[in-house]
Each structure stands twice: as C-alpha cells, then as structure tokens.
Symmetry: C2
Subunit: 183 residues, 2 copies
C-alpha cells in the first residue's frame, strides 16, 4: 500500500486541495508547495495531474461500481430503497471525492472518468424506479444532485445524524416508505 512516503503525502495533500479549490483550480505548483517537494517530484511519482485524480478517485469508483452491481439484481421499490441507502452511504463514505466531481462537473468529460457517467445514469433510473413519468425522473435528479451537494457542504463535518437526515429527505422526495425494507 504505502509504496512511498512522499507519494502518500502527495495524495493526501492533493485530496485536500482538490476538495477546497477544485481540480482545475489547483495547480501542481500549489500541491508541490504544500507537500514540500518540487513540481517535478509530483510528475516523478505520477504520470500527470490526471493520474493523481484518478488514483484519488479509485476507491470511490470501486464503491460506485459495487453499488451499481448490487442494484442490477433488484427491482421495484426494493431497488429504489437500496439505491437510496447505498448512495447515501457512498456519499458519506467518499464525501470529498463526491464533492470533487460535483464541484467540477466538466471533469467527467475526461476520458479516464467517463466510466462514471453510465453508473450515474443507472443510479438515477433506479431512484426513479424505472418509471417513465418525467415527474419521477425529475424527482430522481433533484435527489441525486442534492445528496451530492452535501458531500461538498459537509466535507469536513462528521455529523452523526447526517445519514438519517439524508435518507429521510431522499425517501420523502421519492415517495418511499420511511423504514428500511430489508434489515
């Protein structure tokens, strides 16, 4: 895991700066200064700025893939409830990563991050319960992006009641029963 101390520092510092100023808003020189190394060192450990972002996002991407896979086996309100619960968990677990993508929507146009798009689409569809009613789809979009926003807003605030509050508001908005269905 910890192949190198400096390498880990770069990731830690990058995560903080990217979350604060956005990916495009954070020059390599700022990362280098915060780490205490030269800009060239960053490029020694990583193939480029994009590679730093990709590695930072990898655990979150894996979790998103996982959630996506879990949802394919479910249908109806089971799928909707699992999608809400799973996504709230994912947002809380990877707040800064979600906030990062949220704060720079054009990042998903990067080739390396294109894999996220279909997952988000399927997640949105799961929120809507596969309904063709535009009102349901719009509600799903509102909930999805609203939950993401919290990743930004509360990036450094481990509020204990946050999970419940998010789950409840999402279920209300999506017209889902308030209690967890399967646990």
């Amino acid at each position: 895991m910890a192949r190198n101390r400096t390498r880990d520092d770069i990731l830690t510092v990058s995560a903080r700066l990217f979350a604060r100023d956005g990916f495009r808003g954070t020059p390599l020189s700022d990362i280098a200064a915060a780490v205490g190394c030269s800009k060239a060192t960053l490029l020694y450990h990583f193939a480029g700025k994009d590679a730093i972002l990709r590695e930072l996002l990898r655990p979150a991407a894996a979790a998103a893939f996982d959630l996506d896979a879990r949802l394919t086996g479910l249908t109806g309100d089971d799928a909707r409830a699992a999608a809400v619960d799973g996504f709230v968990d994912l947002v809380l677990e990877y707040r800064s990563e979600v906030g990062l993508l949220y704060a720079d929507p054009h990042l998903v146009d990067m080739p390396a991050l294109a894999e996220f798009k279909p997952i988000v689409d399927r997640l949105c569809s799961a929120f809507a319960g596969g309904s063709a009613d535009p009102a349901d789809q719009i509600a799903a979009q509102v909930v999805l992006s609203g939950l993401c926003q919290v990743g930004l807003e509360h990036a450094a605030d481990p509020h204990p009641g946050l999970r419940d509050a998010l789950t409840r508001v999402a279920r209300r908005a999506l017209l889902l029963a308030s209690d967890r269905p399967t646990d």
Copy 2:
C-alpha cells in the same frame, strides 16, 4: 437596450458557450470565433471576461434580489412555500444562468459575484423554515442544490410539467403541504 449589434451577439454567444463549457472552460478566443469578431473587440465592448459574465447574470441577480426581498416580509410556512415557489420560478426563468453558477461553484468567489452568497444562505434558511434542527437544514440544502441541478440538466428543454414536478418534489422533501397556500 440594444446599444450595439455586436455587443448583443457577444452576450448571446457567451451565454451559450458558458452554459456548455463553463465560464473558466470558455476562452475569449472561442467567443470571438463564434461571434465572428476579434478577441480585441470583446474587450472593447466589455471591461473584461468577468464583465461579460456579470452582465449576463444581472437579470437573474435582480430576480434573486427581488425574491429575497419578498421573503423578508413572511414567516413560518408562508415563507417556506413562497421560497419554494419563488425559487422554482427563478430557476425555470433563468435556467442557463443558474446552471452556469452551479457548474462552476468557485465562481461565487469572484468579488463581483459575492453578493449572491448571503442571498443563497437566506434562501436556504427560508427553506428550512428557520429551524435550528440540522435535519431540516440538510433537507433545505438538498432541495436547493437539487433544484439548481435541473437548471443545468434541462437548460434547453422547456418541459411543460417541469414546474409542477419540481414544486411537488421540493414540497415533499421539505414536508410542506402540496397546494399553494395563497393563490
């Protein structure tokens, strides 16, 4: 109003490109090319890139100020309902402008746009009904940013049922009665 043809073209084209690629993602050279004039012409008509954005956002800013002023006279659920209805109207009326700010959250750090921040805060507080309960404030944040997202997503899609769908999902999420209170 129409002081100059080229000037109007610049604003029209800028609105389109800013909405598509974001403010920071749109160089002046692209605007000039799309307008069919030189980059220097842009800077003849406007003090700078920021000035173009400021002028584009002025009508939306005025509407936001207006909504803010209307809300100060109301309290309780009246204020919450008026905030929801007013903000949905504002988002639908100024979709591309809202989407623009949403797509580049760091724009509000621009001095010229700092005026928006307190308005958004008050609007969020109005959504929460002034409640000190974190769950209410979180619900308000989810709704506020969720509604903004739609400005991006449906920027060019004048869907007729959009207003109703947005109002209903917002009211559900905020635990407000579903019918308009005062009309």
